[in-house]
Symmetry: C2
Subunit: 219 residues, 2 copies
């Protein structure tokens, strides 16, 4: 990893055209070839960047970064305050918990959080427009299709609507009802779901995780 602090101007020409006037900034060159230009704000997002794979050509006062689709980043350097390189080695990487995949797994095991009398048919039930997160049968033999989201928004309702339309054509599944299960559901999504006859279920991730039996319990 190379860290350069320099007064520079930047031009990006690719999916759009963008220009940065001359100012002091951090140029961050990673081992993967990516170059990013950071100012003292804007959280973690750089002002401008080039994603790998790309090639950096260095001339005195002028860096040119190019990728294979022809996008270019041109960095005009006026003055270099600092230029250091560091050997970081391969990173062991991030271990995450609490994302949608885990929520889906928990709900597959704990159907009762969605409704009484459900039996799992399968996770990632395939349709011709993509897999439905969870498919259940209810006590009456009807099919229940569940879309799992961390946050339930309009997109999730639209997505589930498309699945329901497909599933309901299958005589082996019909009738199919839909459930949007999320840790949090936006009001607009609730309204749209209501109009479409889709049930909204707010699930508590910590509670699901806490209830998950690592070993069977007696009570």
């Amino acid at each position: 990893m190379r860290l350069v602090v320099a007064r520079c101007a930047v031009d990006y020409d690719g999916r759009l055209t963008a220009h940065l006037p001359m100012a002091v900034r951090l140029l961050l060159v990673k081992a993967d070839g990516s170059v990013s230009i950071h100012a003292d704000g804007g959280a973690y997002k750089p002002l401008n960047w080039m994603s790998p794979p790309c090639a950096l050509t260095e001339q005195p006062g002028l860096w040119t970064v190019r990728n294979k689709t022809g996008e270019t980043l041109t960095i005009t350097i006026d003055e270099v305050m600092s230029d250091t390189s560091w050997e970081l080695g391969a990173d062991p990487g991030l271990v995450k918990d609490g994302v949608e995949a885990h929520l889906q797994a928990l709900l597959a095991e704990q159907c009762e959080a969605i409704g009484a009398g459900l039996r799992l048919v399968r996770r990632e039930y395939p349709t011709d427009i993509g897999p439905v997160d969870l498919l259940f049968r209810d006590a009456a033999g009807a099919t229940v299709a569940v879309e799992v989201k961390r946050r339930g928004e309009i997109d999730g309702v639209e997505q589930l609507t498309r699945y329901l339309e497909r599933l309901d054509r299958d005589p082996l599944l019909r009738p199919v009802r839909g459930v949007l299960a999320a840790q949090e559901i936006k009001p607009q999504a609730k309204v749209l779901a209501g109009q479409r006859g889709i049930e909204c279920v707010v699930v508590d991730y910590d509670e699901l995780r806490g209830r998950e039996p690592t070993t069977p319990r007696l009570f």
Copy 2:
């Protein structure tokens, strides 16, 4: 801006739980208070971060970053290779061109790119679920609602469908037809649009921009 290269382990507890084992990384502390932890890969995205506003508490070998919603980033530092600070000053900021807003403006002026005989009613025509990008009348007195995208995808068709449903209820506008205008339209979006009776128009941004008269021309 402060740049620290250090061997560290990181724990994030907030919207999810995440852990980074001990390794050498870059800690980037910006003037806006944000902290991000970069490895030598993953393009411009840090492995872990805390967005502003947040507060950094520094103890020997232990940094704690906290925001007001209670998310915490705990950085355990084993060894500091480098610790430098730089005064960058306010950045003049990025100048962009080529985004959807500009495309919308160009199409408002150059209706003929969408269809013959159109007359602009208004840009950002309001409905109760949000504004329609462009609304026109055609020669026959019918209304034409246009959704402008840089890239036309399924979402754009869904969005336009919702608008059309609303607009078509208005006796002053009815009948309303829909047009998806984009620099590039994905096949799946074309298929869905076709099923919904929505017309797809691929527009050439450079051509529109080139045709735009900065001063009136005679030919």
